[in-house]
């Protein structure tokens, strides 16, 4: 039965992809050609695949993190803010410790700092929900904006890099090359972050499906009353799940800086390429929050993102098109999640 549903979801995702490809028409590109070119650019060569894996890394980490509170139907839309704070914490820690400690310790400490930073940033909305019933969708989102401005300020203030000062482009000092995550494929710069990402996916597949913690989150998501009857401390589990989610989002930020960018730059939302906190939402949702399926969905959506960069360069199709595609895929995958779409429709028509 699960397989049938899985196939149904994939089917509707493909339809969503086809529908969203209609937007290519605005650029006088036939939708199917555009789609073919997009997919070819994302998955068509070994270089493209490696580039896609590079983008997959933070995306996969982020989506795995989001799937934890999502399982309890706690909608953490604040992944982006948590990622940014993770980046800040990791970069600051890395830069501060680099002169004194060997690289493995610097990396470990930075990752720890990123986890703590991201988790801490996830706490205010969570506590507001638990204590006052404040809608977490709104509060987590608001925290994103605050994080964006905080980062922006830090990069022209306390964390401003010496190079950046000269050229008046806000950025931090770079992480010393020796403290970066080891590269698996140096030509495209694919870092060991992908291993961390896969390990996290495996770990959380196990946690969500085979532990009391995962079971309890599921019960909370399905029915608060049942959770109470089952003796589940729902507030505590939500708090834990959000700490994990924020922490993992922070790690995604750390991996981004220590695996790819090396420096910290401002992140206004107009730049989708670094908005993994948002992109992670469709990645997690179209995979029905199953961490193993998230490996596939993150790779798939990363490829589209990658392909879209090439489309932008080749045909001036703006990168924004990926958000449209993600939204449409999310919409159609929802239709796939609904048990029997046609039955639902028939019942309604009656």
């Amino acid at each position: 039965m699960n397989y049938i549903k899985g196939i149904q979801i994939v089917f509707f995702i493909i339809i969503g992809l086809l529908v969203s490809s209609l937007s290519f028409l605005m650029f006088h590109i036939s939708p199917l050609n555009g789609l073919a070119s997009l997919i070819d650019s994302g998955f068509g060569s070994s270089i493209a695949l490696l580039e896609t894996l590079k983008v997959t890394t933070p995306l996969l980490i982020m989506a795995v993190g989001l799937s934890v509170p999502f399982t309890a139907k706690f909608w953490n839309i604040g992944g982006q803010g948590q990622l940014i704070i993770g980046e800040i914490a990791a970069t600051a820690t890395g830069l501060a410790l680099s002169p004194y400690l060997p690289p493995p310790l610097v990396i470990t400490a930075s990752m720890g700092a990123a986890f703590v930073g991201g988790a801490a940033w996830a706490m205010p909305p969570t506590i507001m929900k638990i204590k006052f019933g404040a809608n977490e969708i709104i509060t987590t989102l608001m925290m994103n904006f605050v994080a964006v401005y905080l980062l922006d300020y830090l990069l022209i203030g306390p964390m401003e890099g010496s190079q950046a000062k000269l050229v008046h482009a806000p950025a931090s000092n770079p992480i010393p090359a020796s403290d970066m995550l080891p590269k698996l494929v140096s030509t495209v710069g694919l870092s060991a972050g992908i291993i961390i990402a896969l390990a996290l996916a495996g770990l959380f597949y196990f946690i969500l499906n085979y532990t009391n913690f995962g079971y309890e989150l599921r019960v909370i998501g399905e029915s608060r009353n049942a959770a109470k009857y089952a003796g589940i401390k729902a507030d505590r589990r939500i708090l834990e799940s959000m700490a994990i989610s924020g922490g993992i989002a922070g790690i995604a930020g750390m991996v981004l800086v220590f695996g790819t960018t090396q420096i910290l730059i401002p992140q206004f939302f107009s730049d989708i390429s670094t908005a993994y906190g948002y992109v992670g939402i469709p990645v997690a949702l179209i995979a029905s929050l199953n961490p193993l399926a998230i490996i596939a969905s993150s790779f798939f959506l990363a490829g589209i993102l990658n392909g879209a960069y090439i489309m932008e360069a080749l045909y001036s199709v703006p990168i924004d098109v990926v958000i449209t595609i993600y939204g449409t895929i999310m919409l159609f995958s929802m239709i796939g999640v609904i048990g029997d779409v046609f039955k639902a429709l028939r019942r309604w028509i009656k």
């Binding site: 006052f132 969708i137 022209i156």
Partner: protein, 308 residues
Amino acid sequence: MNISGIAIAVVLATFPSAIPIWLAALGETVDQASGVLDLGVEGIMLMGAIAAFVVDYFYHSALIAFIVAGLVGLAFSAVHAFISITLNGDQVVSGTALWFIGWGLSGVIYAAYFGLAITPPSVPTIGSINIPVLTSLPIVGKVLFGESPLFYISILITIALWSIMFRTQFGLNLRSVGENPLVAEVMGVSPVIYRYVSVLFGGFMAGLAGAYLTVGLTGSFYFDMTAGMGFIAVALVYFGKWNPWRVSVGAVIFGLVYALSAELESIYTSVPYQFFSMWPYIATLLIILAVGKSAHAPDALTMPYVRE
């Protein structure tokens, strides 16, 4: 600048900043009163913004621009209505998807018409309506009687919505659908029709709100120019406890917050601007905190209605 000068500048900027959130929040109020949460407002506002901008740019009619923006919003919300009402899908997921689509598509449309130009093109913004005599009153004259037409429209819609929701059979039926669609249906009120009407209205209003951003306020379109306003509008509905009047008060308070942070930013240049820019978002957090658990939300909010 002296204190009264600052005060006047802030007050003058309050309503223009309030209007987009105000319009969107009024629409969302009806949405939620019928039991449907539309998180797509942010995306729909962006679609309204780009639609109005394109229409005004090429056809030079602000009126048509607003109408088209409203209709685009309506069409977008129809998707949300179909998924959440007809297919009983998860309203949070569907709304999030719409937000993404609007977010991306507005940028795509912009690029399709105007390329990736560095300096954005602009259209003239609609002026304000100056009510003779009254405008010349000191201070309040300009604020209350020399505003954008959308200001007066917002007030009219607030009054109309309140009357409809609490003083008509239609409004009672609508609220009953939000509380318990099954009860409503047995009493001959179709939850499906009422919810569709509400969601479409909410979409129309969000479209108008977006149009105001481009055609009414700035004259240009920027990528992701709503910057969370749609979500602030959703927050205001909670603050306003599903009552158009209270929602309007909330919107004006927010206009004040925006105006104040912009004004202070220009005065206290020694303080990094980011600390002013983050104010509306922190204010939203505080406002949600202030509402606390006191409000009674419609019982069936976010609950799909499944007929037996």
